[in-house]
């Protein structure tokens, strides 16, 4: 069997909140392989967000090891983290997090700018990514000229544009109505079928039901980790 894409061993994360120390993660062990569709669930305060930040290389663990696609993330400095985020992670946020004054195309192009890709190649890739999420006609629109669903599609296109090893979605349907949310989830299904590794962080049960594996977090530990059959 091949090596796991994500290998987390005994990861702890503690925050100093004034005098007391808060233990957000208390020894998490996790392996995720390429091509998996995983949902991470848990109530607020469970350490779900902290785990997501670590998985997204925005934060480093206090102790324990995290290996992402062969890179020891827990040993990295700030610049290396930025680099690994750029190459390995595609973020999709609940609040979309697009640059409000830039067009869809520029938003999607942004990760490629930081990756140092040439202008022509960059625009080519960005256009293709937007076509892939069905926004061929909306390339030169700014976020405030787009619907919520369209904005989230732009965000997905931006997440995919660098060919990341994982697509990390944090409550991707949280700001969308049910119908639009379903559309986005269908897009994720499609991406999963194409072989993308998707990690979905959510507290909504029916969203999590779309995944093929559900991990539940409670009090900084993994409470359950089960495969899930989609009917």
């Amino acid at each position: 069997m091949s090596l796991p894409l994500i290998q987390i061993e005994n990861v702890c994360k503690a925050y100093n909140m004034g005098a007391e120390t808060v233990h957000a993660l208390r020894g998490v062990n996790l392996e995720i392989f390429k091509g998996e569709y995983v949902a991470i669930m848990g109530p607020s305060g469970s350490g779900k967000s902290t785990l997501m930040n670590i998985l997204g290389c925005l934060d480093t663990p206090t102790s324990g090891s995290f290996i992402l696609n062969g890179h020891a993330v827990d040993q990295m400095d700030d610049d290396e983290l930025a680099d690994i985020r750029n190459r390995e992670i595609g973020f999709v946020f609940q609040t979309f997090n697009l640059l409000p004054r830039s067009t869809s195309l520029h938003n999607v192009e942004l990760p490629l700018i930081y990756a140092g890709v040439d202008l022509d190649e960059r625009l080519e890739i960005a256009r293709n990514a937007l076509i892939q999420v069905g926004l061929k006609e909306r390339m030169n629109h700014k976020p405030n000229e787009l619907s919520g669903g369209q904005r989230q599609r732009v965000a997905v296109a931006r997440a995919l544009v660098n060919n990341p090893s994982i697509l990390l979605a944090d409550e991707p349907t949280g700001n969308l109505d049910t119908a639009t949310g379903d559309e986005i989830m269908l897009l994720f299904d499609e991406l999963y079928k194409k072989g993308n590794t998707i990690i979905l962080v959510t507290h909504e049960e029916d969203i999590a039901q779309r995944a093929r594996r559900i991990i539940r977090i409670r009090d900084g530990r993994i409470a359950s980790d089960e495969p899930h059959q989609v009917s």
């Binding site: 930040n53 997204g56 925005l58 934060d59 700030d78 610049d79 930025a82 680099d83 985020r85 750029n86 190459r87 973020f91 946020f93 997090n97 697009l98 640059l99 004054r101 830039s102 942004l110 990760p111 700018i113 930081y114 990756a115 140092g116 931006r158 660098n162």
Partner: protein
Amino acid sequence: MNFELLKISIQSILAHKLRSILTLLGILVGVFSIILVMTTMRALQGSIETEISSLGANTVQIKKWPTISFGGPGTWEKYRRRHDLDYEQYKKLRLALPSVKGIGIINHFDTDEVSSRYDTTNPDISLYGVTYPTFSARNMVVEEGRAITDTDVENRRNVCVLGNPLAKKLFPYGSAISQRVRFNSINYTVIGVLKEKGSLFDAGADNMILIPITTAMNYYGHRRSLDFLVEAVNSKEFDDTIEQVRGVLRSIRHIKPIEEDDFEIETNDTLITQFQNVTLTIRIGITVVSSIALLAAGIGIMNIMLVSVTERTREIGIRRAIGAKKRNILTQFIMEAIVLCQIGGIAGVILGVLGGNLAAVVLKVPMTVPVDWVIIGLVICSVVGILFGSYPAWKAANLDPIESLRHE
């Protein structure tokens, strides 16, 4: 990458037009005042330098008072205590220095109107008392008739030489020679007319009437210091001539060896230096004022950049999340400060050069563009941008990506 950052900077500046304009106004004023003064000074300087040169390259001027002086009341007192240079000293100097080409006198006595039986001029005609060698030393060429001779001077004759436009105005129907003109109610017989000089800077160069110095002192009084003009044979002898004049004058005026000269020896070079000293003082003053303006502008820029960083915390978070390194964010914000400063700087340079040349036109001197100061001005803008943009940029770069993504 850097081109991208430039684009981003321009976009975000354009996104806040009014705020950006108000911010760069400070820079604009600072650079504008530097460039304006430098352009005006340069234009004036160029013109005055050529003007002084027209005096005659091999001529030295000896005066009691320096032409251009800059100093406190103490220096003024020093000049005032000096003995006058009088006509007796002039005669002695001429006797003692037969080897020079000529030693003349030129003193301004009055400015008034001149009239003939045909016409009267505006009251802007200068009356000068001169001697024969003055003509050669001041590059004055007699076109018609003759110059004022030593005999005219010795006999205090009531004769005069007219500037060319003056002669044409007073005697429109024929030659001015042997005609009579009247200045300050005194009649003079015209013996010569000068060739027109046609100076750009000073129309007065042609608007003059020359009479023998002794005649002038007779009418206007003896108690005045005379200005001597010494013309060297050629430029090779020039420095020697200066030293000879100095030595002879010191002995004539009984100056002890330890004392300094009690007269001014001015050449084209020393006049230019004196003028430059005056403009230097003005330039230093303006530079100090402009620096303060630029400092204030820089603080304004810093303030706006800090607001901008807070306002764009979310944007910074997004950029960091998708792979921007700290130095990318740092460069982006510094670039923004520089672009802001440069826009202000370029506008300031353009307005300054225009304003300075407008002043040049008003002062009737040739226009100029002080390229070195334009470059210095723009470099200063970049320095201000980097200096005052650094802290906000550093703050932006060191924001925590997780926190800034949550920022509302």
